[in-house]
Symmetry: C2
Subunit: 568 residues, 2 copies
């Protein structure tokens, strides 16, 4: 949808007024469009244009190194000859004018009339048509202009900026057009301001191959493909129409039409790149982004411009327009950081004492018990969590323990403290979500408290580890007893464990007693209303169901307790 | 829709790979994200981050004058502490690290854990939270971070780039956050890669006020308003929560969430600007664009940062990141063009001979006859055109003649040639569409051929004018007889007119005979299949209906002919 407007009929004028206000330090409005402020030396005026709705094309391309002026028509509508004339007259600096635009009948007529009028007044005026869209016609000269507007306009702007004369600028512009090919697909139509329906629509799970940029649908519909297959479609489509030039270097644009986002376009480039490599082409200064849009249309296109030395210099040249800025000097002096030492800490496992080393197998066995328990309980934990949350607790816990054990299995000669630290970090990284962070931090803190340098791993060590686990979770999560979280089971567990051990109970007995308390407390959370975490907006709904985090904690400590019984 | 991906689970990694390939000349991938290449002098490392799906936030903000590194989580998901640690370690240049991110529980936990780990290794690490969203909480410190990420990150990056030490960079970052307020609205939800439905939806013709940037809906739904009313909602919302600072200068961002396009955002700025003026605020270096997005979400937000001298210097400073580039020097030396003389040609009406001046009233009367004719026939012309076209022919012709007469009515002492030239230009500018351009060019050419300097305006002048009218249309439109266009009526009209006048018929008789021929020819176009213009794709459907352009031409010349009869 095009949503923001006042009177739809005034959309084009209104948006231009805002644009000019924002960039009034570098351009000015004239009847029919905008012209750039001028540098000290006069240059050939490159005047771009067409309808509006294509930002940054066309007004956003006015500035040093790019266009001298832009004619701004109504949305998707050619500007009138009077508008073209007015902008060109204002942009002219005494060295002639190039009018350049995509090959559409209305633009050809109106820019043509303006050119005649300008020439009659003695202003030498040339026309450079953009005809890059290989899908629109088998005949090169009959093709329409789409994102290739950008490469051709930029070549013209660069030539003008370096002081070339009118013949030279025109020649380079035409060479750029002959060297440029584009091919695109549409995923969804675009909607004019005030309109209730889009100008066209693409059938569900399809794409329109050979898109236009004025709400024209593709020339045929095909089923939507993966990014990988789409990359092949686009590259093959362009290579089938490659220019006769023998160059192996290409300027490249992955252009988004409006709704297709940058992340998607980068992903598509990842798939396009190796296909160009396979074709023996070296991409130069790749542009990925929204350069020639079509309001809120979904879709994308690939443009390649085959580069000779002259076009490569133009393509790489600096420019500074509202919608496109390039300055190679800004990065020329930078050097890559040496980041070889990033993983230094992770590999710095301390040497374990013999007493510590003897305990490691028990820690690993405990982690395996947790893994079994969580895999068994995952579905039920998900069900409980879904009552008032997003239902991913079981799956998240499984991902966490699986990642933890994978990391632990890769260790050699690690003590129990280091093993838990590695397990905790891997758990946090693998699980995602709040519970993953808390369990990861808890295990890591327990491992740090345990250390691998003790003379004995008896009740004191267990209490130190459990206390550190609890402290880390309380500090990070910020929850208190009664908030209906993991803490409701963790807190009584730690209290009972401490009591039992200080009364002289065996580690196993103390643990089982504490786990029993945790289980009862977890069940009791059914009566609570949640105060923390994702469940908050659905507080009422959750009453009657225990907290998933408290439940999984209780299941884990109960399973560990029975392990010490059956495998002493 | 998010459309381009391979395995949705790998979306974040895949898009990052493409991004890094495009910008490998200025940044590099490290485990967990990216780090900028380095300049010659070490600086405080500003490490930004959060989930992906917000491009250019966060990886697109890495570069000179901005962030030193970006941590890249999964879509809308906090990165893990291990990722944050890894990126910060790689970005660190020996002068300490600032970790900065929006205030979300997952990010607070994971960046917090990483900070602890970094400090333990002796890397001085500070945390600067962004809390700009006034809609998210009444308490400043509890607010979440949305587009204010940009102002705070930029202030940090500018301070680091000028060599400030860690205490100073941290202080400026916190000052920027305290000075920043944002408020936004959502028009439509966003869809995760591979998901069939958006994360939320906004009721038809409503907007979600107080949007989030992770697919959270607004805090309340309100009916969609005009851009003007929305501007007031946003400005009022922010001013109600303005910081205590007495500054009257504000950095401003109109941010688009993804689907809301640049043209709409510029239009919104046009409405925001006067409201800031009214509030006594001077906007500085306004940014209008997509800076912190949310996949393909529709919506926008306004951010203001109240500037003291220090924050203004940071806000105005140069930066060069993939997704944001600023270099004030590129435009500092430019000067506005003097464009006072643009309308020079339009006012240069030649002095008419007495013979010419005597004919002007007849030309104006003729234009009024055309106006009456077209107003009467508009509905029927629209109906004919709609059979196989877009149905706007009647309306376009009416707009053209109305604009022509308005321009002519403003003339004083013009000859018939100048009157037709002015009428033609106004027609083309006012009507739009192909028929408007053709009629405008035809009338203008007729006026030029007629001139205002003849000694006599008899049959030769009429034939010159009609021939020029026809030549202009044939040249511009490129149609031939039989293509089912205006030319099918125009061509026989001119032939008969020429024949009749060369046989010695009076101007009136010759005209009426020619108009009769045009009328018959227009009717006969019903049997043709269109070869030119908009009707082409619907060629078959049009058989049986005459061409609208040929019909309107015939109606006009017939009306002009009967005028010379009834008002000789």
């Amino acid at each position: 949808m095009t949503t923001l407007f006042n009177d739809p009929a005034e959309f084009s004028e209104d948006q231009l007024e805002g644009f000019v206000d924002v960039y009034s330090d570098r351009l000015r409005a004239v009847p029919g469009g905008v012209v750039s402020h001028r540098g000290p030396d006069p240059i050939v005026a490159v005047v771009v244009g067409g309808g509006s709705g294509h930002y940054p094309a066309f007004a956003g391309l006015v500035g040093p190194g790019f266009a001298s002026g832009a004619v701004v028509g109504n949305i998707f509508t050619s500007p009138s000859a009077a508008q073209v004339y007015s902008v060109a007259k204002a942009a002219h600096q005494g060295r002639g004018v190039v009018l350049t635009f995509g090959n559409y009948a209305g633009d050809v007529m109106n820019f043509g009339i303006a050119a005649t009028r300008l020439r009659r007044e003695g202003i030498d005026t040339r026309i450079v048509l953009v005809t890059d869209d290989v899908a629109s016609s088998a005949t090169e000269e009959s093709r329409r202009g789409i994102a290739g507007d950008f490469t051709v306009f930029k070549a013209l702007g660069a030539a003008a900026a370096r002081g070339a004369d009118l013949d030279e600028v025109e020649r380079i512009g035409n060479a750029a057009n002959r060297a440029t090919r584009s091919f695109g697909v549409a995923f969804s139509g675009c909607t004019m301001p005030g309109a209730a329906a889009p100008l066209f629509s693409v059938p569900e799970a399809h794409m329109g191959v050979g898109l236009g940029i004025h709400g024209e649908p593709g020339i045929r519909d095909e089923p939507l493909t993966s990014a990988k297959d789409l990359a092949k479609l686009l590259v093959d489509g362009i290579l089938a129409e490659r220019p006769a030039s023998g160059s192996h270097r290409v300027g490249a644009i992955v252009n988004g039409l409006g709704t297709t986002k940058y992340e998607e376009l980068f992903l598509l480039w990842k798939e396009i790149r190796p296909l160009l490599d396979d074709a023996g082409l070296t991409p130069v200064d790749v542009e990925v982004g929204e350069l020639v849009t079509s309001l809120d249309m979904g879709g994308c296109s690939l443009t390649l411009m085959w580069l000779d030395d002259e076009l490569e210099a133009a393509w790489r040249a600096d420019a500074y327009a509202p919608g496109y800025r390039k300055r190679t000097g800004a990065i020329a002096s930078l050097r890559p950081a040496d980041v070889g030492a990033v993983d230094a800490e992770a590999s710095a496992a301390p040497r374990a004492t013999p007493e510590a080393a003897a305990v490691t197998p028990l820690v690993v066995a405990g982690l395996r018990e947790i893994q079994r328990t969580l895999h068994d309980a995952a579905a039920e934990l998900g069900r409980i969590d879904a009552v008032a949350g997003d239902g991913d607790h079981g799956r998240g816990m499984v991902k966490g323990i699986d990642a933890a054990l994978a990391a632990v299995d890769a260790l050699e000669d690690a003590g129990p403290g280091w093993t838990l630290r590695v397990a905790g970090r891997a758990w946090a990284a693998g699980a995602g979500g709040t519970s993953g962070v808390l369990w990861g931090a808890g295990l890591e803190a327990a491992g740090e408290a345990l250390t691998d340098t003790r003379d004995s791993y008896g009740p004191a060590a267990i209490l130190d580890g459990a206390t550190a686990f609890s402290d880390a979770i309380l500090e990070l999560g910020g929850a208190e007893v009664g908030d209906k979280t993991l803490v409701d089971a963790l807190s009584p567990f730690l209290t009972v464990l401490h009591e039992q051990l200080s009364m002289g109970a065996s580690a196993g007995d103390a643990w089982r007693e504490a786990a029993h308390g945790a289980g009862r407390a977890a069940e009791a959370t059914a009566g609570l209303s949640p105060k923390k975490g994702r469940a908050r907006p659905l507080a009422e709904k959750s009453i009657g169901t225990p907290d998933a985090g408290a439940t999984s904690f209780a299941l884990i400590v109960e399973a560990l307790g029975s392990m010490t019984t059956t495998r002493p």
